[in-house]
């Protein structure tokens, strides 16, 4: 058993999209060279604004999208060599919207036992028992077994989705905005549940969220994505206490905690999120950066190792240290 469960090496995903309706197709680098490793027992938070490629990355790891470049290794084996069923046994997703992630024509029992069916589990007689066991684990009463999704509340539905993901005992659960569609009071229930399950079942999570407070609360390590690249990666404490990348800092400033005295932060992020089809040159963040330097628009920064991870910013490149000190 290796320590690393998922090893993403320079993964790329390029979509050909029609740019502005009729100008022919243009490449959109949704994921543009992401390298990241996830160790057993870790909770990796991936944060970033919409369009930064976090969901695309998750789909690639789940095997739902073939990377157009780079490798993804699951337990040391390239994902391309694994069958769909093998990938499914290893990792499972939980989606954002529990209203669309459950088939409305299937009962709760049917939904949760589907993974067993698909994996051709050899003990069909034990299915019901195992499903009910998982239902109890996620806090669903047994008598919900024969109900349909429309008969459940949003929180219950999300619990069904969690139970479905867990019934085959995967190693890794990829949660894509698991609480964004839920009300605050339900959100905390699901977060608590995910926390409990993590310890009980020894799970590894990839938590994709735009809600930094949630990520801070649950994740052990955080990767910040911007326009298809991980611009900063560090363990949660250092990232939230000593953010390095100007984008990370802006993101953290934008988090609105319920503290009335603080007022609305001014993030100084002038321009809007760039069009991913025509990304800015050099460092893709330079048009919005408050500490932009001359060469930022020309040269793309390389990853620089930090205490607990890495950052992609010219401010921290070895040859830029002096310049920074002067300015």
């Amino acid at each position: 058993m290796t320590k690393t469960v998922i090893d993403v090496r320079d993964a790329r995903q390029t979509f050909m999209i029609s740019a502005g309706a009729f100008r022919g197709k243009r490449p959109l680098h949704a994921v543009n060279g992401v390298s990241i490793t996830i160790d057993r027992g870790e909770v990796l938070g991936i944060v970033g604004e919409s369009g930064c490629g976090k969901t695309t990355l998750a789909k690639m790891i789940l095997g739902l999208l073939q990377p157009t470049g780079g490798d993804i290794l699951l337990e040391g084996r390239p994902i391309t060599e694994l069958t769909r069923l093998e990938v499914a046994r290893l990792l499972q997703p939980i989606f954002q919207d529990p209203y669309s992630s459950l088939n409305p024509r299937k009962s709760v029992g049917n939904i949760i036992s589907l993974p067993l069916k698909v994996q051709k589990d050899p003990h069909p007689e034990s299915w019901r028992e195992r499903v009910e066991e998982k239902m109890a684990l996620v806090g669903l009463a047994k008598r919900l077994y024969n109900l349909y999704p429309n008969q459940l509340s949003g929180g219950q539905r999300q619990r069904v989705a969690v139970a479905r993901a867990l019934v085959n005992r995967p190693q890794v659960v990829i949660c894509d905005e698991p609480t964004s569609a839920l009300d605050v009071s339900v959100q905390s229930q699901i977060l608590n549940l995910l926390q409990d399950l993590r310890y009980q079942l020894n799970l590894t999570y990839i938590l994709i969220s735009h809600n930094l407070a949630v990520v801070e609360h649950i994740a052990t390590r955080v990767a910040v994505m911007y326009l298809g690249r991980v611009v900063e990666e560090a363990d949660t404490a250092s990232l939230f206490e000593r953010p390095q990348h100007p984008y990370t800092r802006a993101l953290l400033e934008s988090v609105l905690t319920p503290e009335p005295a603080l007022g609305v932060p001014d993030t100084q992020l002038g321009a809007a999120y760039p069009n991913p089809v025509a990304p800015p040159s050099g460092c893709t963040f330079h048009p919005r950066c408050t500490q932009v330097m001359n060469h930022c628009s020309r040269i793309a920064p390389r990853p620089v190792a930090t205490e607990t991870g890495h950052v992609e910013c010219h401010l921290y490149a070895a040859d830029q240290g002096k310049e920074r000190a002067i300015s």
Binding site: L62, S101, N103, P104, K106, L114, L137, L147, S153
Partner: protein, 310 residues
């Protein structure tokens, strides 16, 4: 309820949290809606009656629909104030003296057979094309779209007439020609419904569980587009029946002496001024059949419409 609930600071993962049932099951909702829908019940009831009439034709019809008796031709129906009207021929006779009531009953067999069979053929073609295009998108979608556009640009009545006139007309040829021509609506509707379902997370969840594409289409997508399929099926069944009637009316569908309703109208056309029932009765039968099929289809659409679901 008087004691403070200690679980407020964190529910245990194992504890049942919410047990309130919000809604009855989809099946129960559907049953309630079906029987609350006047059009659906009415259309369904009439259709069942007509189907029963077709199946029991040999027992219901008082005469052989093909039996000619020229001495008894053009007897008016029973409600006509005419000395010739007789209960032996409640709906009168046509110009060959054939019993109109029996012809009407046997005619329902032809209409229903053509409607069902042509709907099945076109349904299989159209649904296959539509679901494949909607599910796979990209090139497949482009090709299917092209086929649909091409098909739509061919005028149905004209092509059907031309083909039937060229390869001869029997009941089954009419059925196949219609079936091969009217699948476009199936394809269009199934394509867009599949596209909608395709992008929902439960399809992605099924993929992530390792389900095969076939399984996803059959067990995840099809049940959710079945309601649209039924609606289109009723529309196309009605369409096929009307087309057959029109073809027969123009003399290029079902051949005489078969008791096709369209043919009966065509045969009665020349006598419509003095014997208007000759076109009135088969036309009304056709109208009621199509109306009940359409009511059924509209009803299915209404009771399964998502905006009523919440």
């Amino acid at each position: 309820m008087s004691a403070p609930n200690p679980t407020i600071n964190g529910t245990l993962a194992g504890a049942p949290v919410v047990a309130q049932i919000l809604e009855p099951s989809p099946g129960a909702i559907l049953r309630r809606r079906i029987f609350g829908h006047v059009g659906l019940v009415l259309g369904g009831a009439f259709l069942v009656l007509i189907i029963a009439m077709a199946l029991l034709a040999p027992f219901l019809a008082p005469h052989d629909p093909l039996d000619q008796e020229l001495s008894r031709k053009l007897i008016p129906p029973i409600w006509h104030d005419s000395p010739k009207a007789t209960w032996e021929h409640p709906l009168g006779t046509d110009l060959f003296g054939r019993d109109y009531f029996s012809r009407l009953i046997y005619g329902s067999q032809i209409s229903l057979l053509i409607g069902f069979a042509a709907m099945l053929i076109s349904g299989v073609i159209g649904t296959t094309l539509g679901v494949l295009a909607g599910y796979f998108g990209g090139r497949v979608d482009m090709v299917v779209n092209f086929i649909i556009t091409t098909r739509l640009s061919m005028p149905v009545v004209l092509v059907a007439l031309a083909v039937v006139s060229l390869i001869g007309n029997s009941l089954w040829i009419v059925i196949w020609v219609l079936g091969l021509l009217i699948w476009d609506r199936f394809a269009v509707v199934m394509r867009s419904s599949t596209q909608q379902m395709r992008n929902l997370d439960y399809v992605a969840a099924a993929q992530a569980l390792g389900c095969s594409t076939f399984r996803i289409i059959v067990t995840e997508i099809m049940p959710n587009i079945l309601n649209n399929l039924i609606v289109v099926a009723t529309v196309e069944m009605a369409h096929a029946i009307l087309l057959e009637a029109a073809l027969s009316f123009l003399g290029l569908g079902v051949q005489p002496p078969a008791p096709s309703w369209g043919l009966m109208i065509a045969e009665g056309k020349g006598f419509m001024f003095f014997q208007p029932w000759l076109i009135g009765i088969p036309g009304a039968a056709l109208f009621i059949l199509i109306l009940s099929i359409n009511l059924l289809g509209d009803g299915v659409r209404d009771v399964t419409a998502p905006e009523n679901q919440n």
